[in-house]
Amino acid sequence: MSTVTLYSVSYDLAHDLLFLLGWILHYGPAAAAVENPNVVTGLGVLIFAAILLAASMLNTIVLIWYERKLLGRFMDRRGAMHVGYAGLLQNFADGLKLFRKHTTQPAEADHVGFYFGPTAYMVSSLVIFGILPISTGWNSGALPLSLLLALVVFSFAPLFIFVSAWSSNNKYSLMGGLRSAAQMIAYEVPLLLAVVAVVVVAGSFSLTTIVYEQQNYWFWGPLVVALVVFVAAMLAEMERIPFDLPEAEAELVEGWNTEYGGMLFAFFMLADYLRALVGSILIVLLFLGGWTMPGWVPSAATSFPLAGIFWFMLKTYLVFGLFVWVRASLPRVRTDQLLRVGWNRLIPLSLLSVFLAAALVSVRCLPVFGCVPSPGG
């Protein structure tokens, strides 16, 4: 069955472009060179990557706008409202301003680390988008171990944060970097264990498979413990309130990005929201059925063009709205409390969720939705 996928679209586009070029070049040796299948594939991948990049950046910027508007209403104010309709273009303007700004580097800061940190942080956050499947046609997630790969890339971040914190020659940055490292290491474990529960039930490390396994029932019901652990750990990984200690602005000014300005700061800012987007997407993929909808939803709502992407993004934004809600209403915890929660509460809970998942699979029974054959069993 030939389905139209994002990659096939990019490949066709590359193919058409190059053959048009070849036609212009009039079948000479140069034309043969551009019509080489390897060149066509290469250009197709490039176009694919460009579309992904554009989509993720656009989504990130809209996400920032979305958070500002939501937070505004939580705080009895309006949020951005001047540039563009309801301030929609405000973040583009901000980005443009940051792009134009001069980047200053503190005296005696380590030059290489100072620039490497934000860049690598940004790049590693962007890479994840090449792995995540957004809908059926988005076959970038067809890798068998895409979930593992996504989490591995996701967990690179503390290293880069630490590099940029240490190299910026600032005590606050250093403390922020240390906190960040401690926090991310502590919360990586429950995060992965919660994912293990999902993997046990779904029987696959492929995100696409995990989503397809949820066509009958979403995993949040049977795996509610894993969901709670995953959300809490994801909050810590995304460094959002109540776990935003590394950049606690009350005591550490801005933590590890204190010394950054201009485009480097924009990298941090964008990458933070990219990671927030990734976190929301992962929750949707692992627990909320991805782009699938439950059976009782009328088919008209799921069969229009790009319906998968529509429902997927809707779910993602709702999940992110939950994070904003938490941010609007909760204070920040302290370092030792954070670590205590991570090691003493979340890890036992996540182990419990793994056991629960294993039990569910082994008795082939999902109590919430009645006994149905367990997938992958």
Partner: protein, 381 residues
């Protein structure tokens, strides 16, 4: 990471002003602190020596930017004691009204800043929003939102505008509702309690020895409130309770300030009722000429007249929103005060910083300092 000194300030979100807290940290633990003041020193006491008695009022508003009216009151009481002037009764009540509205405004500002230190974002805006109503009310009868210049030696500048009492009562009702919301956002949150309980403990005897006053002292269970103990203006004629807590920690200070706001609302209701029924003059009618307005300034082509005004030293003490504020005004019979000296409660509370900061985490410094309610304008003067 071995021990190191970090500078929290003078530009730091924790400071809520312009000062520098030097902190010696061992990892995340605070080993020693050394507050450095003086970044906002404007020499108000010196400038006052060159100013007319009433003109010092313009400085008092700028002395503490969240409690200008209280500082006006403080200075005016000192100047009246030095010059032996008595204000009429209605002015006394109006001053209590100003003081209590100012206490509401200051505590709401404190609430906003304090929750911001904890990372709570929405309540910060709620506190600022509700403080704005108090400022609206101030503006409607003094003509300015922060620099009021309302009190005068021997009374106040003008009476309340018509309809003020009704509008104030609306605001008070609104605030009563909001206090419940504040409590839900703070005390109802387990994270808040985990952060604040047992934090920044400063017990009663130590607090007294270090000169700590105000809500910090009352949170330690010491019942000292100058409004009750040494009533000034009309405080002996209104009914209110002194807020107390016994935990001596950040939560205790939160509770005391919240209760003080409720008591302020209670006082304001009584004062508004009294003012409704007792019209009268608001400035003492037998004011000496030099307290009116004009005089020939130094440098103008005129002659200063040295007169035999009653000489003396006037001492005044009020319960400012931050604590016990004292001033003395020395009057040598001239047109200007000879010496004006102010005792800022925050000054003393900050000088005890090492007693309630050492041993806690770096992350605890902002909430603890937030619970101290620092206003640098009155520390540096």
């Amino acid at each position: 990471m071995s021990e190191m000194w970090i500078n929290m300030g003078p530009q730091h979100p924790m400071t809520h002003g312009l000062w520098n807290l030097r902190v010696q940290i061992d990892g995340e633990l605070v080993r020693a602190v050394d507050p450095e003041m003086g970044y906002l020193h404007r020499g108000i006491e010196k400038i006052s020596e060159d100013r007319h008695y009433n003109e010092v009022i313009t400085l008092m508003d700028r002395c503490c930017y969240v409690a200008g009216m209280a500082w006006e009151h403080l200075y005016i009481l000192g100047a009246e004691a030095a010059l032996q002037v008595r204000p009429p009764e209605r002015a006394d009540y109006l001053r209590v009204l100003c003081d209590e509205f100012q206490r509401l405004g200051s505590h709401l500002m404190w609430y906003a800043a304090f929750v911001q230190d904890l990372g709570l974002m929405s309540p910060f805006l709620y506190g600022m929003r509700d403080r704005d109503l108090v400022l609206d009310l101030f503006q409607s009868f003094t003509g300015a939102r922060m620099t009021y210049e309302y009190m005068r030696v021997g009374g106040v500048r003008n009476d309340l505008p018509p309809g003020f009492a009704d509008r104030s009562r609306k605001v008070l009702d609104w605030l009563d509702d909001r206090f419940r919301e504040y409590d839900a956002l703070c005390l109802g949150s387990t994270i808040f309690r985990k952060r604040c309980d047992g934090l920044g403990v400063l017990k009663g005897p130590e607090a007294i020895a270090h000169g700590v006053t105000g809500p910090m002292l009352r949170a330690a269970g010491v019942k000292r409130d100058l409004r009750k103990d040494r009533p000034y203006s009309a405080y002996d004629r209104v009914d209110f309770d002194v807020a107390l807590a016994d935990s001596a920690d950040v939560t205790g200070r939160y509770l005391v300030r919240m209760e003080e706001m409720r008591q302020s609302v209670r006082i304001l209701r009584q004062v508004l009722d009294w003012l409704d029924h007792h019209p009268g003059p608001v400035v003492a009618d037998r004011l000496p000429r030099w307290l009116g307005a004009p005089y020939a300034p130094v440098g103008a082509e005129g002659y200063l007249l040295k007169r035999n005004y009653p000489k003396g030293l006037g001492l005044s003490a009020i319960e400012e929103p931050h604590g016990e504020a004292l001033s003395y005004v020395v009057n040598d019979g001239g047109e200007h005060p000879y010496r004006v000296k102010f005792r800022s409660p925050v000054f003393a509370n900050l000088s005890a910083a090492s007693t309630y900061l050492v041993g806690y985490h770096v992350a605890d410094i902002p909430p603890i300092m937030g619970s101290v309610d620092v206003c640098v304008g009155e520390v540096d003067r």
